[in-house]
């Protein structure tokens, strides 16, 4: 489980958190209740220390930092002493084995808190490393991919300016079309890269506001239809309105990229369909085509930004490595997932999810923070 809120871990450790305090109180109360019940049944006394030890372990594991675990162990020691050992309802520190109980509980609390903190730190580091990797890949892909259209633009322009009037009009027109085509491509590439700058680098998060999924999909498809005649784009949407917190510009970029990917790479596709549905606490977007599908050996590296170096055949295939890795970056920053698969019977399906609830800890949503 990865925490997205409260990026600065060191700060968190000393910050008071209602959630953690509540969890601690709840677990201790449950332990106390259990002990009372056991005492009523009969020989509860032997288990009291065990129950509280377990409670302390649980608190240390579920809260962040050391504070709550240590606090729970202190409360546990006094609680056990006060309520569950003779004399009942009185503190007595001369019991044999008392220091041992105290030290054990404290040690367990510190140990488990430490492990928990370390684990969280590691997850964070892994995520940052992956983001760093993605950026390096992007940069490499960009520098590789920018040169080609720039060379072609400056080349065509210099041919035109030097030979204006000397070459026939058809050839001139072809060169002009090349220039504007490559310029368009550069524009789209730059837009993609600028998208990344909208993502907060430190926290790998975006500014989200609730948006209607249908509006975003409609606009992306409208723009797609302006640029591509085939494959024909369809939209499949349920009657109900699906809202999800997102950075609308970025999600539109993702859908645009996935549609463009289908138009340029789905060989033989006659349609591409965007589907939106709600599943539990997630909005699920799918972009599916009926083309040739994705080569199995490309599937694992599809979103790495390195895919472009594998296909140097078709001239227009060069952009997709970047487009898809931008998609993944955007979706990760939204706390969602992006996957690709081949559909049985031909065609590729890209699917991404967005949490429909803001923040974490929504009881009805289960563990939607998993990655």
């Amino acid at each position: 489980m990865l925490r997205r809120k409260g990026g600065n871990r060191r700060e968190r450790m000393f910050l008071f958190s209602w959630r953690d305090a509540g969890v601690t109180a709840l677990i201790l109360a449950a332990a106390t209740l259990l002990c009372f019940l056991m005492r009523n049944i009969g020989d509860g006394e032997n288990y009291v220390s065990m129950v509280f030890l377990f409670a302390v372990a649980l608190v240390s594991r579920t809260t962040s930092g050391y504070f709550y675990g240590v606090a729970a162990s202190v409360v546990g020691v006094f609680g056990v002493n006060y309520a569950f050992t003779k004399p009942y309802m009185a503190l007595c520190f001369s019991l044999t084995g008392y220091p041992l109980t105290f030290i054990t509980m404290l040690a367990v609390a510190v140990l488990i808190s430490g492990m928990t903190t370390q684990l969280k730190r590691q997850v964070r580091q892994n995520y940052n490393a992956r983001l760093e990797d993605m950026r390096a890949n992007l940069l490499r892909a960009v520098s590789h991919d920018l040169r080609t259209p720039l060379t072609s633009i400056s080349g065509a322009a210099s041919v035109l300016s030097r030979n204006l009037g000397k070459i026939d009009e058809k050839r001139q027109r072809a060169l002009l079309n090349e220039i504007s085509g490559d310029a368009e491509w550069l524009i789209r590439m730059v837009e993609n890269l600028l998208s990344i700058t909208r993502i907060n680098a430190e926290r790998a998060s975006v500014k989200k506001v609730p948006e209607a999924a249908e509006e975003i999909v409609s606009e992306a498809v409208r723009k797609y239809r302006k640029r591509f005649g085939a494959p024909a784009a369809e939209i499949a949407m349920p009657g109900e309105l699906i809202m999800a917190p997102m950075d609308a510009i970025l999600i539109e970029q993702v859908i645009t990229n996935l549609l463009e990917n289908a138009a340029l790479h789905a060989t033989g596709a006659t349609w591409v369909r965007v589907t939106v549905k709600k599943q539990g606490c997630e909005a699920v977007f799918e972009v599916e085509d009926n083309g040739g599908g994705i080569e199995p050996d490309k599937l694992p590296v599809l979103f790495d930004g390195s895919a472009s170096s594998y296909n140097d055949s078709a001239a227009n295939s060069r952009s997709m490595g970047i487009g898809l890795s931008v998609c993944r970056t955007i979706i990760s920053a939204h706390g969602g997932t992006l996957t690709a698969e081949n559909v049985p019977g031909g065609g590729a399906r890209f699917r991404f999810t967005l949490p429909t609830e803001e923040g974490e800890g929504h009881a009805q949503c289960g563990n939607h923070t998993h990655r």
């Binding site: 524009i187 600028l194 506001v209 609730p210 249908e214 409609s218 606009e219 498809v221 510009i249």
Partner: protein, 231 residues
């Protein structure tokens, strides 16, 4: 056909200015141009152009400030040039009195379409208030409170009707979310954009032939909504 309209280009980048001047001149518009805010104000005051194209990033002054100052004494239609991703700037510009915006990088067709629409609004401003709006089969009669699509009467709730008529009265123009909320629910309502979106989704399901591809009310992502031009 001769376009009598005079257009002022306020843009500090010379290449973009050249490009726009060439495009506009080839469409027979009379073109004035400047690269800074100071001259822009004096040209508007002295030449009274029919339209101003304003780049928000000027060297000597904030474009938004220039816009609000100009609005204090001039109602000339203003089309703002802004970049994609800077949706906040567009919203601010619209709130400051801009009539429309165009997103950089833009194509020639888009530029000309925006200019034609803005010029039309400038002319309409001087006509009286209309009560019947129609376009593409949608008819809204504010006097008799009737909304029809292809002759079929459409039943709208009170709020939905308010939204539709607000968009009709400003057809062709982008209305920001906040502006619409203020106009429909009142200036002191603490209504959020979510309610506006829910209402918009319902309106689209009632008036659009294909709600997934709206033809009457377009979404301007991150900014607001725009109704097609209504006659």
């Amino acid at each position: 056909m001769r376009n009598a309209a005079t257009i002022l280009i306020v843009e500090d980048d010379e290449r973009i200015r050249n490009y726009m001047r060439t495009v506009l001149a080839s469409c027979d518009y009379a073109v004035l141009e400047t690269g800074n805010a100071k001259t822009a104000l004096s040209i508007v005051a002295s030449h009274n152009p029919d339209l101003v194209i304003l780049d928000l990033g000027l060297p000597d002054r904030d474009g938004q400030e220039l816009l609000s100052e100009m609005r204090q004494w001039s109602r000339v239609p203003v089309v703002v040039i802004s970049a994609r991703g800077l949706e906040k700037d567009k919203v601010t510009a619209l709130d400051n009195g801009a009539d429309d915006y165009i997103t950089k990088p833009f194509g020639t067709d888009e530029l000309l379409a925006r200019i034609r629409a803005a010029l039309r609004h400038g002319r309409q401003r001087n006509e009286g208030e209309r009560t019947v709006f129609s376009g593409n089969g949608l008819v809204v009669d504010t006097e008799r409170r009737i909304v029809r699509v292809d002759g079929q009467p459409i039943h709208l709730t009170q709020i939905e009707y308010k939204i539709v008529t607000l968009l009709c009265r400003n057809s062709g123009k982008v209305l920001t979310h906040d502006y619409m909320i203020r106009e429909v629910w009142g200036p002191f309502s603490n209504c959020d954009t979510q309610l506006l979106r829910v209402n918009m989704a319902n309106i689209r399901r009632k008036i659009e032939k294909d709600p997934t591809m709206p033809e009457y009310i377009a979404t301007e992502i991150g900014v607001g909504y725009r109704m097609i031009e209504m006659d």
